[in-house]
Symmetry: none
Amino acid sequence: MLTSQRKALILDRLRRDGQVIAKALADDLSLSEDTIRRDLREMAAEKLLKRVHGGALPLSPDLPDFSARQAVSSEEKRRLGAFAAGMIKSGQTAFLDGGTTNAEIARRLPKDLAVTIVTHSPTITGELEHHPVAEVILIGGKLYKHSMVATGAAAMAAIASIRADIFFLGVTAIHPAHGFSTGDFEEAAIKRHIAQCSAETYVLATAEKLDAASPCQILPIKGVSGLIVPSDIPEERLAPYRNAGVPIFLA
Amino acid sequence: MLTSQRKALILDRLRRDGQVIAKALADDLSLSEDTIRRDLREMAAEKLLKRVHGGALPLSPDLPDFSARQAVSSEEKRRLGAFAAGMIKSGQTAFLDGGTTNAEIARRLPKDLAVTIVTHSPTITGELEHHPVAEVILIGGKLYKHSMVATGAAAMAAIASIRADIFFLGVTAIHPAHGFSTGDFEEAAIKRHIAQCSAETYVLATAEKLDAASPCQILPIKGVSGLIVPSDIPEERLAPYRNAGVPIFLA
DNA sequence: CATATTCGTGCAAATTCCTGCAGGAAGCAG
DNA sequence: CTGCTTCCTGCAGGAATTTGCACGAATATG
């Protein structure tokens, strides 16, 4: 990765998140923290950002409350996203479902990872616009505006021509008995189809989705390869899922 | 391989990938890095690209800064967008090409207009996310990151199944003799294909696009149904286009 | 105050860049 | 055909840049 690209990326992330953390940046870019710190120092000298202990902040904090809220509110999802991104190996093909949690995977995708990302969500493609090496395949179809994903026969056909190594499924509810579910029948069918076309399927779930059910089941609990949850969920809430036979990963 | 071919290829790859790495280029073309570097040096002198340590970048990398892009679009593009949006009748199917000007059409689309919007640009779909009644069809395919549109065989096939009443074509340059052109061969082919699948094709053009030419022609001047330009362009600049036989609309 | 990060600097290794030069191919005049 | 010029290409080697590591200083946290 080129130095100037790296600096542009830092600025980009600064605008988006309202902050950058040196260590996280080094992890994502697979570089030493020293290099990142050097960049931050130089950019601070160019008046492009403000250097602070641990990272950097935008020079003119536009809407400081907004960026602060952004920074704290999605901490849980960010951890899930980073964990999931780490599961994707170089050269693989990953299918990303729509939703804010999966958008976080796209954001946390290491910038030097040469992978193929398939998605039926235009929102996800936006997150990958500035990824230096990832190839992005967009599945087309009739757009469901509510969740901003392509659906319908055209989408089903396009998905059938894809064979993904790993699929990150987005759901609205998870229940030990009722499995993974969502609110729309058509969407559930699409998601099920994607899972069938993928070697492995994983679900990212924040705490509030557990022990809930939505009208349309996508898959039973045992129908996925694993469930990824925040590490601070108490073990007793996870027990029913472990008993149902799904591997659980703590992020 | 001829030097000029090589340089054209470098520009092409720059447009496609948003970056060029000297070493990788030398490997791919089986040439010494010195030769590549010499090319890059010369092209930088010709203001065709920006030289950076390790390779080169496009001269004006797409400004991810939303406010900056918004500022560029400004008054002129808004007028064009509103005029074009007014040409779409209730019940019709309109195909919107990518680009900031066409995004303006999507933004200006009357909220009570029940139409079907087809596009291969995920950016455009984002503009339509909150439209109450418009049905949105997304064309999928391999994503070209620099212009954020779906391309390739899958996109071509999906387009072939669509029959649009009106197509708003985005171009980078317009010339009386060389017609409508853009910088990428693949993109030009896609745009031409969409035009063939549409009953009418219109081009929105701000002043700076007139009397310029890019490498790849999409259509000749007479190949479109009309050209929509800002009303403050002097008549003498429009005369060559009128003579070429294309109807002109002032917005 | 103690501990753990984070920071800055010096330094060495690796990579990339530039300059000058030589060999070879293409074009051209004699 | 020969000799000349011109252009392109690769190579050598020295300069410049970048990167990671080590170690002591500075800063945050409890």
